[in-house]
């Protein structure tokens, strides 16, 4: 669905994106991660036709950008991180406007309002919506023309836990229906739970790309929190089990000291992200 080859985007002398290459498959839920200023938004702007690449090749649904952007437009949608509705319009009016601009039947408006639990507030002006409702309306707006590829920029930010569950389920559902989802988020649990594949970038460069499970397996580091009683004094320490010295130290504690607590620390995707991006910024 997306093919990027050696993509470089420059603002003057500053390289916001530097030689990025990856691809996104059809029906894949693809996580695109990176710390602030890594070049995520710039890449999305390029993929949605707002800015032109300085160098490299970008293809969406088999059409090269920016030349065939007009052919890509009906196939994609973008859910931004900030709400950009007409506040004086009701939720339904906002959706109807976009339905008309895509030439889709109006009954789809009600379908998506219902799917995102907005039917009751559909005739209320968006000005009176909560942040979560506005976010859901953005998703409904993006999905109204049933695109083949949707870009989501932090879709669950500012949502309550029930809405987060709803949106995550919806993202998975969209991907399962064959629509590719390009997701950027700072919520690492979300990535671990729903993404098929993840790309991590920093300083405009791709650091790694793989499935979340493979990331954890490849980059996992084993740590152990130990609490023991040494001469009536409670001591607490963390040992890195991949280091021979720490491994030896753990054996000594278990054999010679009175252990109060031994707890292995679970290595999560968040730790992978921290490790990779931390190295990049070191």
């Amino acid at each position: 669905m997306i093919k990027i080859q050696d993509l470089t985007i420059q603002y003057g002398a500053f390289k916001a994106v530097d030689g990025l290459s990856f691809s996104v498959n059809k029906g894949e839920l693809f996580g695109f991660l990176g710390p602030n200023g890594a070049g995520k938004t710039t890449t999305i702007k390029c993929l949605t036709g707002t800015i032109k690449p300085t160098h490299g090749m970008v293809e969406v649904a088999g059409y090269a950008l920016p030349k065939f952007f007009h052919k890509i437009k009906p196939l994609i949608a973008f859910v931004p991180d900030t709400e950009n509705h007409y506040e004086d319009f009701s939720g339904r009016e906002n959706l109807l406007l976009y339905a008309n601009l895509y030439g889709v039947p109006h009954h789809r408006v009600d379908v998506w309002l219902d799917r995102l639990q907005l039917s009751e507030a559909s005739d209320v002006k968006v000005r009176n919506y909560s942040k979560g409702m506005k976010k859901k309306l953005l998703i409904a707006r993006a999905m109204i023309h049933e695109p083949q590829l949707v870009f989501f920029d932090e879709p669950t930010a500012n949502l309550d836990i029930h809405s987060v569950k709803l949106v995550r389920g919806l993202l998975r559902e969209i991907a399962n229906s064959g629509t590719s989802v390009f997701l950027t988020t700072h919520d690492m649990d979300e990535v671990e739970q729903i993404c098929d594949r993840v790309a991590i970038i920093a300083k405009g460069k791709l650091l790694d790309i793989d499935t979340p499970t493979a990331f954890i397996t490849r980059h996992a580091e084993r740590y152990c929190d130990v609490q023991y009683d040494h001469q009536d004094q409670l001591i607490r320490t963390t040992l890195h089990l991949d280091e021979p010295e720490d491994k030896q130290r753990l054996s000594e504690i278990v054999l010679n000291e009175k252990c109060v607590r031994v707890h292995s620390r679970e290595f999560r995707f968040e730790d992978v992200f921290r490790k990779l991006t931390g190295e990049a910024y070191r």
Binding site: F78, F89, L101, G103
Partner: protein, 375 residues
């Protein structure tokens, strides 16, 4: 997904109308300007009526039908119509005049009153209506009366004074005389231009810069409506709104000009020029606040250049390159009445106006395409 451009146009155009309808303050401002046109019309009609009253005859009010009065009756003023009226109470507050009277000579024969001497034997008070035209008229009338008086009573003691009529409306000399066709034409042109500025520049900036700041334009650009189509719709929407407002204003101020092709040419060119300015300002600013502020600065700049051009040649030259100058000048010429002498000047204004507006439109379109719709 096959959607016709006309359908997209219709959708975006309807969206603009709904947005305007949801912001009644904007419509109220247009209404206020139209109300101003109504007031201007009423005021200028009142002043025209007052002006027409200057066609009334001048009055010679006297207490004694003496030799002077006889002489005046026999030697009528070459241009002014003069009426003679006997009143024994002349030169007292008991004499009342109709409100349309604006030129009077009160001649009092003291000898006839058999008063004790040492005072002038004849006194004349010339009374005027207060307006510039009335004072001018009374001056001419006074010269005629005094020359007759000098011929008849060269050896007599004569007292004279120049006073306003008791019911006159004296005005400061700097006030605008709306009875004057030239002033009225200028004010009308300014009023129509102000309405167009509000609709095509201030309102355009307000509505569009808001969409830009909230990245709504970017969201719309991702649909089947291109940024170019969005701009075209906005131009057509604000142009139509401006022409409706101008039509109402013209109908109020000068209905005859509704049927002049030239007037509509100016109004359309002016609206497009103002939309061009608004597009440039919106494209160059990221937020609604800064764009609106720039719009206000633009208005101030135009005002300052116009004011300074009265005294400084450099600013007069700068004014030539501003389409606003050509709009106001050409509209004033239309309202003032076109004569054979100013046909050439009017043509020059129209041509320059068109060229400037075309250049402005090209610049604004390029800017819009490059950065106007992007945050």
């Amino acid at each position: 997904m096959n959607v016709s451009r006309f359908h997209l146009f219709k959708t975006l155009y309807a969206k603009e109308w709904v947005r305007l309808k949801r912001n009644p303050a904007a419509l109220m401002a247009v209404g206020l300007l139209i109300l101003m046109a109504f007031l201007l019309n009423i005021e200028s009609k009142a002043q025209q009526t007052a002006k027409r009253s200057s066609d009334w005859p001048c009055l010679v009010v006297f207490n004694e039908d003496n030799a002077l009065i006889q002489h005046l009756k026999q030697n009528q003023h070459p241009k002014l119509r003069v009426k003679f009226k006997h009143n024994p109470n002349v030169n007292t507050s008991k004499v009342r005049y109709a409100s349309v009277v604006d030129c009077v000579a009160e001649i009092q024969d003291i000898q006839a009153l058999k008063w004790i001497d040492k005072r002038p034997q004849q006194t004349i008070i010339f009374r005027h209506g207060g307006s510039e035209a009335s004072i001018k008229k009374t001056n001419g009338f006074a010269r005629w009366v005094l020359s007759s008086m000098a011929a008849k009573y060269s050896n007599q003691n004569i007292g004279q004074s120049f006073k306003p009529l008791p019911n006159s409306r004296s005005k400061p000399s700097a006030s605008l005389d709306l009875g004057n066709k030239k002033s009225r034409a200028m004010v009308s042109a300014m009023l129509i231009f102000s309405t167009q500025f509000f609709v095509c520049c201030a309102l355009f900036i307000s509505l569009t810069a808001h969409e830009k700041e909230k990245s709504i334009l970017q969201a719309l650009a991702l649909t089947l409506a291109s940024p170019r189509l969005q701009l075209i719709v906005k131009v057509v929407f604000h142009l139509s709104l401006s022409l409706i407002a101008s039509f109402i204003m013209l109908a109020v101020i000068s209905p005859a000009h509704l049927f002049y092709v030239g007037t509509w040419w100016i109004l359309i060119a002016s609206s497009i020029g103002l939309i061009g300015v608004a597009t440039i300002l919106t494209s160059l600013n990221r937020t609604q606040t800064s764009a609106s502020l720039m719009g206000f600065c633009y208005l101030m700049f135009v005002g300052v250049v116009f004011a300074l051009s009265q005294n400084f040649k450099g600013f007069t030259l700068l004014k030539v390159f501003m389409f606003e100058h050509h709009v106001i000048s050409a509209l004033s010429m239309f309202f003032n009445g076109i004569t054979r002498n100013n046909y050439l000047l009017l043509g020059a204004h129209l041509l320059t106006l068109t060229v400037i507006v075309v250049v402005l439109s090209v610049i604004s379109f390029v800017l819009w395409q490059r950065k106007g719709w992007k945050v």
